[in-house]
């Protein structure tokens, strides 16, 4: 009894149950400080672009930052695009051009991503389930052949394609860009989907085959629904890459099939003082992907994480 009081305490509270200490608060502060710092670094350019699109020349020169506080937002930038409330009803050549480019970008990126996901998923499924022999090439060689396309820099293909497309009358057409974009994202799709299919047990299809489905039937009815989230991830990642692609679009299109990045780039040269219209244009160009980024964040992360972790 007497030495129980003198002996050191045996049962302690676990660290979680004790009141937080100074070091803990300091580490919290440091962590949140760094998080917020990086958030500012990531988001400030977007904020800057939005606010600049509502500024006028004096606001730009004075460096006003916060709307309604140190400057009054004006529709100047959006009016020059023909997208402000008072010009939206009237005709505008700039708006027509912008919408045309927007449509081009949308059609090209959606179609090429779709095509890449279809081709890539089929190939990845085949490679994950059957053993092939094309000549001396086996499965691992075929996989490597697809993935090695990743290291092919666009410049190598650009000039041959320029000449080839000229001969084929595909220069400055959407089809031409769609084919090329599909090619550039295909390795990434195969990479993601191979990982997805490898995670699905083959017993599932075996059961389906025993029940009398053909291979393609089993693929369409059993595997496809399971792999759908992975395909969505691959699709969205492809969408991001193809929507933002500039190099091929700048080389292979001139008047008809221009995409949005080409339009933004061509305006950049003549920026001068009309920051507000450039800001409006830039913001309109990034807005679709900003929305996709916020809504589909889960899929983008899933897509990029695939293959990173085995």
């Amino acid at each position: 009894m007497t030495d129980a009081a003198a002996s050191p305490q045996i049962f302690r509270d676990s660290p979680h149950d004790r009141p937080p200490q100074l070091a803990w608060y300091a580490s919290r502060l440091a962590i949140y400080g760094m998080l917020i710092l990086w958030t500012v670094i990531c988001l400030f350019p977007i904020y800057w672009t939005i606010t600049t699109s509502f500024k006028m020349a004096p606001d730009v020169m004075k460096g006003n930052m916060v709307p309604w506080w140190d400057y009054t937002p004006k529709w100047l930038g959006w009016r020059s695009l023909g997208l402000s409330p008072d010009t939206i009803a009237t005709g505008s050549t700039v708006r027509a051009e912008f919408l045309g480019r927007f449509l081009n970008s949308a059609i090209i990126s959606l179609t090429s991503s779709g095509l890449a996901v279809v081709l890539g998923s089929l190939a990845a499924y085949g490679l994950s389930r059957f053993s092939y022999r094309f000549g001396y090439m086996r499965n691992s060689d075929i996989s490597f052949f697809f993935l090695s396309q990743l290291i092919l820099p666009p410049v190598v293909l650009a000039l041959p394609f320029l000449v080839l497309y000229k001969e084929l009358a595909l220069l400055d057409t959407r089809i031409g860009l769609i084919l090329l974009y599909t090619l550039t994202v295909l390795p990434i799709v195969i990479w993601i989907m191979r990982d997805q299919f490898a995670g699905i047990p083959a017993e599932l299809e075996e059961a389906a085959l025993v029940d009398g489905l053909s291979i393609w039937g089993a693929f369409a009815t059993i595997i496809l629904p399971i792999a759908l989230p992975g395909m969505a991830a691959a699709f969205i990642l492809s969408l991001v890459l193809t929507w933002n692609e500039y190099f091929f679009a700048a080389l292979l299109t001139s008047t008809y099939a221009n995409t949005l990045p080409v339009m933004v780039a061509s305006q950049t040269g003549s920026q001068g003082i009309s920051w507000w219209s450039m800001a409006a244009l830039s913001f309109a160009a990034i807005l679709p992907l900003v929305i996709i980024g916020i809504v589909m964040e889960r899929y983008i992360i899933k897509g990029m994480a695939a293959g990173a972790v085995k």
Binding site: T39, I151, V163, A198, L251
Partner: protein, 368 residues
């Protein structure tokens, strides 16, 4: 991934009627003959021996597509079940081969010719002249040297990305918000970024970053006048766009490490610092290697931002190989020389990547 034998065992009794096989072979060879015929006709037409009035090579393209379709269909007709399996991979293989291998062969021909699209003389074979010109072209070597600098920047990017991933993986509130915010730069088009940051935020008079620099006492901040500064800015811009990519991969790796491992190290008396270097970091090596490799691959294509912000200046200090070749074509329409530069670049990349992968393979192996 197995190499030997199918993962999916299928037993089928393929009774393919003889007529089906014959029909399958017939459409494959028939369409191939059609393709060869049209291609020959077009070649003769182009050479001037025949006058068939082809405006472009579209007919050959259509014949090729028809042949590719017949080849796929013929697989199923001739080989039955095996053909159906081949049909999974065949379309993608045909697509990639026709869009990569043909242009590459074609590119090799262009690379050894003197061809300026703006000159009326057309293509002339000129042997190794392009190579000699390249050897003496200081701007190309300069661009290659810049690529080495850009590659070295990946180390810093990796460190930042790892730090951010650790932050996101720690016990924090509003994790989803931070994740979305950190992901944002990756979603933005490099062209828009080059205006948003490169041209407006870094503008020396009114740009907010110039104001910030002046606030910290820098007189007349200029971001694109000295070569070193311009290159640093380019690295930073590119890093800003692609850090989220590495961050997400590393974050995925961190989340895959079982909590018990770190708990065990803490029980063994490791503090946070040693726990990181002796447990977390080694476990993350495979993921890190993948992330860095992919980042290298993307970095080798670096061009959009450079083309739009500095167009290689000042004095080629920020030029990447891709942006240099882009201007070689844009300003001088020099297709032959540009292609040769690109081919040499491809060769260098293939050598570099092969050596790198071999080294990594050797370095990583003892750990498994």
């Amino acid at each position: 991934m197995t190499d030997s034998g199918d993962l999916l065992h299928v037993v089928t009794n393929d009774d393919i009627p003889r007529r089906r096989v014959v029909f399958g072979r017939a459409i494959v060879w028939g369409s191939a003959a059609l393709l060869a015929g049209i291609a020959t006709a077009q070649t003769l037409d182009r050479a001037g021996t025949l006058d068939l009035g082809f405006a472009n090579w579209r007919p050959t393209l259509y014949a090729y597509v028809l042949w590719a379709g017949c080849l796929c269909w013929g697989q199923v007709l001739v080989r039955g079940e095996q053909g159906k399996r081949a049909l999974f991979v065949l379309p993608a293989v045909l697509f990639v081969v026709s869009l990569v291998v043909f242009p590459l062969i074609f590119g090799l021909i262009i690379a050894f010719s003197d061809w300026n699209l703006s000159s009326p003389t057309g293509r002339k074979f000129n042997g190794l002249d392009n190579l000699r010109q390249m050897w003496a072209d200081p701007f190309y070597w300069n661009a290659l040297r810049n690529m080495i600098w850009y590659m070295l920047a990946i180390i810093v990017e990796y460190a930042i990305a790892f730090g951010l991933a650790l932050l996101l993986n720690s016990q924090i509130r509003a994790r989803k918000f931070f994740r979305v915010a950190f992901l944002m730069p990756l979603m933005l088009s490099p062209v828009a970024v080059s205006w948003m940051i490169g041209k407006s935020m870094l503008e020396p008079r009114f740009g907010p970053l110039a104001r910030l620099a002046r606030f910290f006492g820098v007189e007349n901040p200029s971001f694109f006048e000295s070569p070193e500064m311009a290159r640093l800015v380019m690295m930073a811009l590119d890093a800003w766009t692609y850090i989220p990519f590495m961050m997400i991969m590393i974050l995925a790796g961190l989340q895959a490490i079982p909590k018990e491992v770190q708990e065990a190290s803490r029980v063994d008396g490791a503090n946070a610092w040693r726990g990181f270097w002796e447990v977390t970091f080694p476990l993350m090596l495979p993921v890190s290697v993948t992330a860095i490799l992919i980042r290298i691959i993307f970095k080798l294509k670096l061009a959009d931002i450079i083309i739009n912000v500095t167009s290689g200046g000042p004095g080629g200090a920020t030029d990447s190989v891709t942006s240099f070749i882009f201007r070689e074509y844009r300003d001088r329409s020099n297709v032959g020389y540009g292609t040769m530069l690109a081919m040499v670049y491809l060769l260098l990349i293939v050598i570099f990547m092969t050596v790198l992968m071999k080294l990594l393979d050797r370095w990583m192996r003892p750990q498994y």
